[in-house]
């Protein structure tokens, strides 16, 4: 990373930390803001959090690995969260996961080499009536089919994606 980029990132870390009192109970909230900002939790961010709230790094690392909301490796520009809740499961979520693997070559937890796409499974999106479903960067795609998912992937490929709805 360039020196400029590092500086910017350092500023962002501080900005996020300063939103919260320096207390252990805000670790989770701080991490969520950082995950949202950087798409993952860089090693530095954990070290900064540990010193900010005065808690051993090992404990902060325990939390970063315990909670599935966080990733220690960068997620793709488009992150597919495929729901594997029971309703979605019995309606074929594993087939959707297969199709994504066939088309993009990634399995849950992996990111494509170009950093464009990543896939993970999540436990339940709460859209059970629209099973099987996935979320791509906050946007819910309901009632997926094996052919429909290909169309969805293609619609994101090469697109300049504007964050937020």
């Amino acid at each position: 990373m360039s020196a400029d980029a590092r500086q910017i990132e350092a500023k962002n870390y501080t900005a996020i930390l300063n939103n919260y009192p320096a207390e252990k109970r805000y670790i989770l909230a701080i991490m969520q803001d950082m995950q949202g900002e950087f798409r993952y939790l860089p090693q530095e961010s954990l070290e900064l959090i540990a010193s900010y709230v005065n808690v051993p790094l090992s404990r902060v690392y325990s939390m970063a690995t315990f909670y599935k909301a966080f990733s220690l490796v960068p997620k793709g520009r488009i992150n597919f969260k495929v729901c594997d809740g029971t309703a979605c499961h019995i309606k074929g979520s594993n087939i959707i996961i297969d199709m994504i693997y066939q088309h993009l070559g990634i399995k849950p937890g992996e990111t494509t080499a170009d950093g464009e796409f990543s896939i993970e499974t999540v436990n339940c999106l709460g859209a059970c009536a629209l099973a099987p479903a996935l979320v791509a960067n906050e946007r819910v795609h309901p009632k997926l089919t094996s052919s429909g998912i290909i169309k969805i992937i293609k619609s994101y490929e090469g697109q300049i994606y504007a964050t937020g709805n």
């Binding site: 051993p56 790094l57 090992s58 404990r59 690392y61």
Partner: protein, 245 residues
């Protein structure tokens, strides 16, 4: 207050755990995650006992159950023994080559089963190492991830900046799961290599520089006093340690 343990009447203080009370009687309850210095953790569930309180009878973990009422405790029943055997059976596959688990397996007469075994595994996740590191060391290691992927590690599986190489973790580990390699000059543990300090009197390597500095800081000594090994400095070291536990 008075409670009964295996039909023996025992005096206890309110809030004391059943395990603490039982240890006074000389009755043996098996434990895997308990250590005198750290107390009970409620993780291994080997110490489960039967408690009768009024009309209710239930099984509880004796290392975390605080006594506030006049209960009747049974430290062993067929149901409890079944649980203990089951736990040992399940745990055996996490440390199959360790003498500790081999002994337990035989003691509980465990049955063979078809579950897969990784002969390289050694950790039973009792977390005594983590507790030792918290109490005596610098909290360099912790339990990471969760569920079936839970394991003990330094952050990022890298050499920890705060690890002082004291090897307290190795001391308390029942299955020898922590890798420690040592020569006269160096100690390597958790991916970090330390230079060893030699005893000024007998020349034996006995501690890392970082360890001595850490102790000095915790005890409040400005200058790290004479570097003597345990044997040569037994009494003084004991006093120092007892000051900060």
């Amino acid at each position: 207050m008075r409670i009964s343990i295996d039909h023996q009447a025992i005096d206890v203080n309110p809030g004391e755990t059943i395990l603490e009370a039982v240890r006074k009687t000389g009755i043996d309850i098996p434990t895997l995650c308990y250590h005198e210095a750290f107390g009970g953790q409620g993780m291994c569930r080997m110490c489960m006992v039967e408690v009768k309180n009024g009309n209710t009878t239930r099984l509880v973990a004796s290392c975390t159950y605080p006594i506030y009422e006049e209960i009747e405790v049974k430290t062993s029943t067929p149901a409890i023994e079944k649980i203990r055997r089951s736990i040992v059976t399940l745990l055996y596959r996490t440390a199959p080559k360790s003498e500790f688990m081999e002994n337990l397996y035989r003691e509980y007469n465990c049955k063979e089963n078809r579950l897969s075994i990784d002969l390289n595994e050694r950790c039973i996740l009792c977390r005594l190492c983590v507790r030792a590191c918290e109490e005596i060391g610098s909290s360099a290691i912790s339990a990471i991830f969760r569920g079936t992927e839970k394991r003990i590690s330094t952050p990022f599986d890298e050499a920890s900046a705060v690890c002082i190489g004291c090897a307290a973790c190795v001391e308390v580990c029942p299955t020898g799961a922590i890798g420690l390699s040592e020569t006269d000059e160096e100690r390597t543990i958790w991916n970090k290599t330390f230079a060893l300090v030699h005893c000024e009197r007998c020349g034996k390597p006995f501690a890392t520089r970082e360890q001595l500095d850490y102790i000095a800081t915790r005890v409040g000594m400005k200058d790290n006093a004479a570097n003597f090994c345990e044997d040569c400095r037994k009494k003084n070291l004991a006093t120092q340690i007892s000051q900060f536990i």
